[in-house]
């Protein structure tokens, strides 16, 4: 194939030289039949080559897309599980020396109810925490109240009580160090921890 195209190129070159130097000689006399055949062959060959190349690219692309799609869906899955996990772990907070659920935390708890319903194997532990202002030992009782009232909310919204453990840490595990309301309000909290069934968490529908 190479030799043919070379020939064509030479032929064209020759014709060009002849026409540029020549006076009266007509260029159309130069070997048209051979050239046509070569040209046809060349076109056929190049189409085939292009087709093969395109097929190959298409195949690769398809494979790449398939791979990508798979990866994307895995990432999306894990991203979604991660998101669900984060939603589940988001803390709720309490007023000073109180253990009742604040209205602005009910949305977060409803979300946890939905997650627990979408993942029947999921089990959690709720940890109740206090700020440093109260009495050290009393805070263990208060932290227990906070964990219990949080659990009670989930149970009253349809979650089986056996799926929820509770724990009180009193003021022993502050989230934020500091001795002002900014720190205290963040430390008066309930934390949510997965204790079982936490792989591939499904997003609530």
């Amino acid at each position: 194939m190479k030799s043919v195209s070379l020939l064509v190129v030479l032929g064209l070159g020759f014709a060009a030289i002849v026409s540029s130097c020549g006076g009266s000689k007509a260029p159309e006399n130069t070997t048209p039949a051979v050239d046509t055949a070569a040209e046809n062959q060349r076109v056929r060959d190049s189409i085939a080559a292009a087709q093969a190349e395109a097929d190959r690219l298409a195949r690769e692309e398809a494979e790449r897309i398939a791979r990508q799609r798979e990866a994307d869906s895995l990432a999306a899955l894990s991203r979604s599980a991660e998101e669900v996990r984060n939603m589940l772990a988001s803390m709720i907070h309490f007023d000073l020396d109180k253990s009742n659920i604040r209205p602005d935390d009910m949305g977060a708890l409803d979300q946890k109810v939905a997650i627990l319903q979408a993942n029947p194997d999921l089990r959690i532990r709720i940890g109740g925490h206090c700020d440093e202002r109260g009495s050290d030992e009393y805070n263990l009782a208060l932290g227990n109240r906070r964990a219990q009232s949080t659990k009670q909310y989930l149970v009253s919204h349809g979650i089986d009580a056996s799926r929820i453990e509770t724990q009180s840490w009193g003021e022993e595990r502050p989230l934020v160090d500091g001795h002002d309301e900014g720190a205290w309000s963040q430390n008066r909290r309930a934390e949510f921890e997965v204790t079982g069934g936490g792989d591939n968490l499904r997003r609530p529908s």
Binding site: D136, E137, L140
Partner: protein
């Protein structure tokens, strides 16, 4: 005189903020404390200086004496004892003191009693040594005679029991002078960074007694001073442990590990432990027989209230505790079997803040606790007979009081110096001293008097 002034100042300092309707402060009776002079060293004997220093400090910290410091070091003693021959005391005096001591070879015999009397001393104490025996000779200055000579064989200063042995000698001196045992040979357990430590009442010998890295709380002494109980977080639960002071060996209290158990307290006969258990129903008091590890009993049924922080009366008949039944935590009392529950420390509904951490005094007459006053905590004392309370502190945040065995000193946590540490207050004089100069110490528990056997730490 300086301690007197200082005490008076501290009393004033701690009584500046006065709440209406609350008797505040300390009953201060000036001038009733007998003067005591520690005689300067008269002879050789290695280690005697530290014995003298420790005993002098114990006598000072007892807040029962006016410690008189001699000016000019040894000069006065030299003036009296440089005479080559001492005049023996008259025979009649000698016989009067014969019941408690014999004038041994180290007995300095006659002192210049009029001189010490002029200095304001009622007692003079001499520490000497004969061979292995350390002698503490207590002179009754007014009677111009030896009140008693106490003998002790002290272990070497390198021994772990050395300081406790010296403290015990000091306590005997207090006993000989006033008929009341001292509190030198006592220790305080406390929590720092989630671990239990012990420290001698004079601030020496701080030592870690926790044996794990888990977070611990609420140490409580058994009456014999040989054991203590405490709570430890483990796997989401609160476990109660009994630990042997001497060996460090610990065992979990039976039935613990199923819930959040906390604030253990021993009955005076050490048969029973009462503690708080937090469950779905809230927190309630339970008792268990720790001798036979059986018979879990529920003492309170809170339902909508929490009941915690028990403390036995010294006769074992009653238990004071904290209950949230009035809305905020307040101090209640019941019979040891859980019957006859009633309010103990009076409060004004809607006015008085939370009250927590009660501890019954060893003499049974008082219950110390802390109460929220204007957003911070202050130490209060309830008079058990009259059921009246008085506020003891007002400077900074003050909490978790614990009684010394003499029922007149309290250790407590205070941030009055800028950070939370342990302080000791004498209720009779109002004198306050820091026990520990480290921040973060809390939940102190003062030991009973520690006998020789209990203070041994192998």
């Amino acid at each position: 005189m300086t301690p007197l002034l200082l005490a008076a100042l501290l009393v004033m300092q701690d009584t500046t903020a006065i709440d209406r309707g609350v008797r505040i402060g300390i009953v201060y009776r000036p001038g009733v404390r007998p003067g005591l002079v520690m005689l300067p060293r008269s002879g050789g004997g290695t280690g005697l200086d530290s014995v003298r220093a420790m005993i002098t400090r114990d006598l000072d910290y007892s807040d029962r004496f006016e410690i008189i410091t001699l000016p000019g070091g040894d000069s006065i003693r030299l003036a009296t004892s440089s005479a080559p021959t001492r005049t023996p005391p008259p025979a009649s005096r000698r016989s009067s003191s014969a019941g408690t001591s014999r004038a041994g070879p180290a007995n300095p015999g006659a002192l210049n009693y009029p001189l010490y009397q002029a200095l304001g001393a009622d007692f003079a104490l001499d520490i000497t040594r004969t061979g292995d025996t350390t002698l503490a000779t207590l002179h009754d200055v007014a009677a111009a005679d030896v009140r008693r000579t106490l003998r002790a064989t002290l272990p070497p200063p390198t021994s772990a029991d050395y300081r406790q042995a010296v403290h015990r000698l000091g306590d005997q001196v207090v006993q000989a002078a006033l008929g009341i045992a001292g509190i030198g040979a006592t220790r305080v357990l406390f929590v720092r960074d989630g671990k239990v430590y012990q420290i001698d009442q004079d601030g020496a010998e701080q030592k870690l007694v926790s044996s794990t890295n888990r977070q611990a709380m609420s140490p409580a002494w058994a009456a014999d001073g040989r054991h203590f109980a405490y709570m430890e977080f483990q796997a989401g639960k609160g476990w109660l442990f009994l630990q042997d002071m001497g060996t460090g060996k610990r065992i979990p209290v039976s039935t613990t590990g199923t819930a959040l158990d906390f604030t253990p307290a021993f009955s005076p006969d050490q048969q029973t432990m009462v503690f708080s258990r937090a469950t779905e129903e809230g927190t309630d008091l339970y008792s268990i027989n720790v001798k036979s590890n059986c018979c879990l009993r529920r003492l309170t049924v809170g339902r909508f209230s929490d009941n915690l922080s028990p403390t036995f009366s010294p006769d074992g008949q009653r238990i004071a505790f904290v209950s949230t039944r009035p809305g905020l935590p307040q101090v209640y009392v019941m019979a040891a079997d859980g019957t006859d529950q009633q309010l103990f420390a009076p409060f004004d509904y809607g006015v008085t803040g939370s009250s927590n951490a009660p501890e019954w005094s060893p003499d049974g007459q008082s219950v110390a606790f802390h109460r929220d006053v204007a957003g911070t905590l202050q130490v209060f004392v309830l008079d058990v007979r009259t059921r009246t309370v008085r506020q003891l502190t007002s400077v900074g945040r003050n909490e978790d009081p614990t009684w010394a065995p003499d029922s007149r000193h309290l250790a407590f946590v205070s941030d009055r110096s800028g950070y939370r540490q342990l302080w000791i207050i004498d209720l009779d004089t109002g004198r306050i001293r820091p026990l520990l100069q480290q921040s973060g110490a809390r939940l102190p528990a003062w030991s009973p008097r520690l006998s020789e056997a209990t203070s041994t730490t192998p």
